[in-house]
């Protein structure tokens, strides 16, 4: 195949405009920062994923254990329990604070958001760099917990365990969470200002891509909720280091108070994780259906509705903490309210498919599977918001399966789908479709195999955070561990697919998928300041008639500037003439 000689890879672009590691480390280019976040998140995902695999290995059968006596002869039963408790803690904390929360907003959001706005960068590029450096510092704090015996409090840091016997690792971990919180706040602030101030002429709020609506709602949550986790972590540190009574009853504190503070942040944080994923979903479903997204305003407004309601439902984590039944009742009622805007999004996505032109390219496979995964994850949330049923299911594997369906099945799948979708823009090269589909299948099958059995283990009564379990739960854990092995292979191959694409992938056209948002109107990869000359004119972000397929580019081009061009590509005529459309992924 012959590629146009003017391929953007050979020209000056943001990747080759400056050289040397310092040009990356000290960059203020949102695209480079986005990529560095991306690789940082990959590294942390591998780190947290390693512990996930160790957990599943340990739980594969009631008497497996990962500490082979030949390897570690001195490992007594108690030392094994200590090791296990550290593993699930690190898995949870790393995956939440260092992978899912920064995953889509900081990595994909940083890369895409300014280009989608036709802007040269975010509003505060230096603050953006500072956010990234804080992120690295926070990650280092978490890694340092290993030097002081490891953290074993669970990612929730509940006192009085965390303030009592848990050890010095609590200091590093809470400090890390505090620093990561600021990284998150600054990123959110940057995005809110950028969206308010840098929208191009013509892009009124209701002409904004839905990804930006989702990122906007997320950013508002980051700014308003994250300070509370910062405060809670400081209070925890104050109590731990100075013995000032805040949470410990002996000192005059109340452990349930911490739970209120913690979930006041951590429940909105769940939406910090899922809202951007919903934004990616809306982009993918729209583009790969070649049809305006159904119910644009409903999807946009439901993002804001979710953001608002998410602030007043935290108490559903505490139905069994001993909080007053009246409070539980109010929180239960409000929690059901979140289901409505979430359902609205799903119904609108499904309706977008109706009478579309559905491509099964890798990003779309991830998007379609999310309808099932988010369906299961969201609907199982209804069981847990029902107070009577939650009594039985609380803190069992039912909860574990529920939040993995939402945070991994939906957020991580959207993240991977988004990476496949925007990779041509990031590196100017296409990923292998074949490898992409195989890895999708492995991840999808593996994920369902891992977490569906855990629902039943939960209803049968298996508590979470257990080092071992009664034999009656063996069958669910066995299948769960088999599924985890599939995910391991799938994720390693996904990484290989990404590296293969970056190094040897086919050069990408400016607009391989037929997206209409502005990032597809510049070259792949984009020049240093995103657009050569003036940014393109802004149209409806989902009016697919604005772009047309051009066979010799194997990609899409803007339709309007071509109107007077005698060489304008006529898709219908080409179909009649029997031209092969290699990149259409039928």
């Amino acid at each position: 195949m012959i590629f146009p000689a003017s391929n953007a890879l050979q020209r000056t672009n943001y990747l080759n405009a400056q050289k040397g590691w310092w040009s990356w480390f000290w960059t203020i280019d949102h695209k480079r920062l986005g990529l560095m976040y991306l690789w940082g998140v990959f590294a942390m995902f591998a780190f947290g994923g390693f512990f996930a695999m160790m957990i599943r290995w340990n739980l594969a059968t009631p008497d497996t254990n990962i500490w082979d006596p030949e390897l570690i002869p001195a490992a007594t039963a108690l030392a094994k329990m200590d090791a296990y408790n550290r593993m699930f803690t690190v898995h949870g904390a790393v995956m939440i604070f260092l992978v899912i929360i920064p995953g889509i907003p900081a990595a994909l959001g940083n890369f895409v958001l300014p280009i989608m706005l036709g802007a040269k960068d975010v509003a505060f590029p230096r603050l953006n760099r500072f956010s990234f450096h804080l992120w690295i510092l926070g990650a280092i704090c978490f890694i340092l917990t290993f030097t002081v015996g490891g953290l074993d409090t669970g990612w929730t840091f509940y006192p009085t365990y965390s303030t009592g016997s848990a050890g010095k690792a609590v200091i590093f971990a809470t400090l890390g969470t505090f620093i990561l919180g600021f990284s998150s706040i600054f990123t959110g602030l940057n995005f809110v200002v950028t969206i308010h101030k840098l929208r191009p002429p013509g892009m009124i709020w209701f002409k904004m891509p839905l990804f930006l609506w989702a990122i906007y709602a997320t950013a508002v949550l980051q700014i308003l909720a994250t300070p509370v986790i910062g405060i809670s972590m400081l209070l925890l540190l104050v109590e731990y280091t100075m013995q000032i009574g805040i949470f410990t009853p002996e000192l005059g504190g109340d452990p349930v108070f911490f739970q209120h503070l913690f979930w006041f942040y951590s429940h909105p944080a769940v939406y910090i994780m899922i809202l951007p994923a919903m934004g990616v979903m809306s982009e993918l479903i729209g583009t790969f259906s070649r049809k305006p997204i159904f119910g644009y305003k409903s999807i946009a407004m439901s993002s804001l509705a979710i953001a608002v309601i998410s602030f007043i439902v935290w108490g559903h984590h505490m139905f069994l903490s001993g909080q007053s039944p009246l409070m539980s009742t109010i929180f239960s009622f409000l929690t059901f309210a979140v289901a409505i805007p979430s359902a609205i999004k799903v119904f609108n996505w499904v309706c977008t498919l109706y009478k579309g032109s559905i491509s099964f390219a890798t990003p779309m496979l991830y998007a379609l599977s999310i309808i099932w995964l988010f369906g299961v994850g969201g609907l199982t949330g209804l069981f847990l918001s029902t107070m009577g049923v939650d009594i039985h299911l609380h803190d069992t594997y039912f909860v574990v399966a529920h939040f993995h369906f939402v945070m991994v099945g939906s957020a991580i799948f959207a993240f991977i789908g988004g990476i496949y979708y925007w990779m041509p823009k990031m590196y100017g090269r296409m990923a292998s479709e074949k490898l992409g589909r195989i890895t999708w299948a492995l991840n999808f099958i593996g994920f369902n195999l891992t977490f569906l059995p855990q629902f039943v283990a939960g209803t049968k009564g298996m508590p979470r955070r257990y080092f071992d379990y009664d034999p009656e739960f063996a069958v669910y854990n066995w299948w769960s561990s088999i599924g985890a092995a599939f995910i391991l292979v799938g994720m390693v191959l996904t990484l290989i697919a990404v590296i293969q694409a970056i190094t040897r992938g086919r050069p990408a056209p400016a607009n391989p998928w037929g997206g209409v948002t502005l990032e597809w109107m510049t070259e792949s990869p984009p020049p240093e300041h995103n657009f050569e000359g003036d940014p393109p004119e802004v149209g409806d972000p989902y009016d697919v008639s604005l772009v047309e397929y051009k066979n010799e580019l194997d990609g899409f081009v803007p339709a309007k500037p071509m109107a007077s061009d005698p060489n304008m590509y006529d898709y219908r005529a080409s179909l009649k003439a029997g031209v092969a459309h290699t990149n259409l992924h039928p």
Binding site: M81, D82, N85, D152, T153, T160, Y161, A166, P249, G253, P255, S289, R290, F294, F319, G322, S328, S332, F333, F336, A339, I340, A343, I344, F347, V350, C351, L353, Y354, K355, G356, S357, I358, F360, L368, I371, W372, G375, V376, L379, L382, F383, T386, M387, G388, V389, I391, H392, D395, T459, K460, G461, P463, Y466, G514, Y549, Y571, H581, L584, P586
Partner: protein, 334 residues
């Protein structure tokens, strides 16, 4: 189809005191008065969600197949981009179901929170990593025994960290919070033996912190309690063994000479004991008594201070200390 319809009908008429309802076999035994209600609410949500999920997924698959690009080409036919009617329908209809779920869950929860006045109270102390159940007459045990068909109330307290009582067969669970009491209640409906777990992470041996719940016929319960409580009639070493179990010594000290969190009781009496400060002491009645009441004073070699609770001077009567001494003597080395 018929079984599904039958289930749907069963779901629509929630009985007052629900019989066991578990058509898919997803729950542990149904052993308390409102386990059936709880499962019924679960299945009400389950069937509702299943219908929605199947609908959404079938529509997704059908649309994706029917309108695949290889069939319809790159330019799809025109179709609406918005429908206010649909948006209203799929916002309002689910609301009714959500309110129903909330209401059933609320009624169920209310029933668990309204503790009957006549409930038989057992005090539950959850400490890292064992349970102590104290009956009204002062009898203590590491395991829970309750009468069937009688309302039982558990008063929960913890001296150290958060724990949570979970009895799957009764569908009850409640956090044990240091610094305050929490209450839960249930009425067991048939005799049997069921597990009790700790479900709030509490550190190293969280997963080992379980207990046995025995439900015995109401008529036998009082006689059983009286017999179990009367340790004075037992030989001292047998009473010592019961104290050893009931007061939590068993969590850290073995009787067979093997190592654990604390030093073993087996084969020790009369020997010379190595202490942490390098000196030795004769393992006799006085040493045992001192080590129980003030554990940090003569610390055994190889063990850290403050591992053992120092409240046994209050928790154990002189008689119980004597019984423990008798127990250790009976496992002695002479």
């Amino acid at each position: 189809m018929m079984p599904l319809l039958a289930s749907a009908l069963a779901v629509l008429q929630q009985p007052q005191s629900a019989p066991p309802y578990d058509p898919l076999g997803m729950f542990p035994p149904n052993a308390s008065h409102n386990a059936g209600t709880s499962d019924w609410v679960f299945y009400f949500i389950f069937w509702t969600c299943l219908v929605v999920l199947i609908g959404v997924c079938v529509a997704t698959l059908w649309f994706a197949f029917r309108y695949r690009r290889s069939k319809v080409g790159l330019i799809p036919q025109d179709s609406p981009h918005h429908s206010t009617t649909l948006e209203i329908v799929w916002s309002v209809v689910p609301t009714f179901f959500l309110v129903a779920m909330f209401w059933y869950g609320f009624k169920d929860y209310e029933d668990r929170r309204e503790i009957p006045n006549d409930a038989y109270e057992i005090h539950v102390n959850a400490a890292k990593w064992s349970w102590t159940f104290t009956y009204p007459n002062g009898y203590q045990s590491q395991h829970l025994t309750v009468p069937a068909d009688r309302n039982v109330r558990l008063r929960l307290s913890s001296p150290d960290v958060l724990h949570s009582v979970f009895i799957p067969a009764f569908r009850v669970k409640l956090d044990v919070v240091p610094g305050r009491y929490n209450w839960l209640w249930f009425r067991a409906i048939e005799p049997g033996v069921f597990p009790l777990y700790c479900t709030e992470y509490c550190g190293q041996q969280h997963s080992q912190m379980d207990a046995r719940v025995t439900v015995m016929p109401d008529a036998e319960f009082d006689a059983w309690l009286a017999k179990e409580s009367d340790w004075g009639a037992l030989p001292p070493e047998v009473a010592g063994l019961k104290t050893y179990g009931a007061n939590g010594c068993v969590a850290c000290h073995t009787l067979d000479g093997s190592a654990a969190t604390g030093p073993t009781f087996g084969g020790m009496f009369g020997t010379q004991k190595q202490l942490a400060d390098g000196s030795t002491v004769t393992y006799d009645e006085n040493y045992i008594r001192e080590s129980i009441l003030t554990p940090n004073v003569k610390l055994a070699a190889g063990f850290a201070p403050n591992l053992m609770p120092s409240n046994f001077a209050q928790a154990l009567s002189d008689q119980k200390v004597d019984w423990l001494i008798a127990l250790i003597k009976s496992k002695g080395a002479q």
